[in-house]
Symmetry: C2
Subunit: 247 residues, 2 copies
């Protein structure tokens, strides 16, 4: 595990105290990098107080205004989710997720997203993820406190790191780097526009088309070469669509 | 796992908010029974607030004044501990502990002890335990928040429960019930007095004699028949020590 390559990303956090609790939970388990996407109130004294001796994590925390900015340089994005989704997404429990992340972090940038206290991650945020991570809470009271959820995931990362002696090397042996979040974001924009251009996607009635395509490509993880090929295909498709309209 | 047989015991908790955080962490993972040993301030609004929808756990919580009272009816006692001990004690990480506790709870009463926010469990409290439980935090910042520690242990219990299909039956198949905490407490008092009576233990310079004996008997777990035998031996020993003094 390389903690420099693992980013805990808190999306639209409402209670500043939770940000401090998250910082402490991270440091207790050897994590370092915290990114805050549009927190409601930060910096805040409650955060500093609850961070206890993890003030250094808060000081180094990145504050950004959009999720896209937060994951721009990440090749693997995990979203924590308690809820059933409209479209089933690849999902693993925190233990298996941690095995994967510990391994990937040796060579790639990984982001783990945690959503709002009241509603978690929204569908369009979850659709930016390669993998969803599930903490199997009890059905009688499934709603974990935000800092508690981070604590459990961070603990599983630590446990996986301590046991990470015989990890598979399949991902690390890949011959081409995997695409970053920024590349993928541009790709999806390009894909969506192309689908509109060719009349396949109606912007006024998009249904679940883009979510399903996101799920497909996020599941397979595109490497940079594959992405370049697809972008080339899209560009060519747009050209022919336009020239078709010209006639 | 039988949650009715698992007691989370908080010893001398200082911050009432943590008690609420513990209640929520428990309910999130399907635990029910909370015992508070001489909390500094309880009931308290911070506890209620942080418990969120786990107010029922607080309402049913037992408040007692001594640890002995808390574990009187328990046959297996686990103490959470971050520190190295003067005398090494049987110790397992939270994952293996949870396997054991989930299994034992089907037939016996189990207590899991969590100490003070600043100092954890004291040596004499840890010496009441059959097993110490260790959460492998990072060396850079090993001090977990109390509610976070409970969250991790409760999470491991939940994970163990979900996987508890092929558990060993060695403990459950025992032919005689194991001794309770109250029985063991009386036994240790009897043992100590007997050692004084026979001049083996100097109360003014006890050194580590009793801790080492506690470790021995707690490790082996005495069943009720074995305990009766030992108590009989002690009684006889005391009688002969006294009659020796008479002559």
């Amino acid at each position: 595990m390389n903690p420099e390559n693992i980013d805990i990303v808190l999306v639209h956090t409402t209670h500043s105290g939770n940000i401090g609790g998250v910082a402490r939970a991270m440091k207790n388990m050897g994590l370092k990098r915290l990114t805050l996407v549009a927190p409601l109130a930060y910096p805040a004294p409650e955060a500093t107080w609850r961070a206890a001796s993890a003030g250094d994590i808060l000081e180094c925390a990145r504050v950004v205004s959009t999720l896209d900015e937060a994951i721009a340089d990440c090749q693997f994005v995990v979203g924590t989710s308690a809820r059933e989704r409209r479209i089933p997404w690849p999902i693993q429990d925190a233990r298996r997720c941690a095995d994967r992340v510990v391994h990937l972090s040796n060579t790639e940038r990984v982001a783990i997203l945690f959503g709002r206290e009241d509603r978690g991650l929204l569908n369009d945020e979850l659709q930016r993820c390669n993998l969803h991570c599930h903490i199997p809470t009890h059905e009688g009271y499934a709603s974990l406190n935000l800092a508690m959820a981070v604590q459990i995931v961070a603990y599983e990362l630590r446990m996986a790191q301590l046991q990470d002696t015989t990890a598979l090397a399949e991902d690390a042996e890949w011959d081409t780097p995997f695409s970053s979040g920024a590349d993928m974001s541009r790709f999806y924009g390009h894909l969506e526009q192309t689908l509109v251009d060719i009349g396949f996607l109606n912007p006024d009635a998009p249904r679940q088309l883009m979510p399903r395509l996101r799920r497909l490509f996020n599941r397979v993880r595109l490497d940079e070469m594959e992405l370049n090929i697809l972008r080339g295909v899209l560009t060519e498709t747009q050209k022919s669509a336009r020239s078709g309209q010209d006639h």
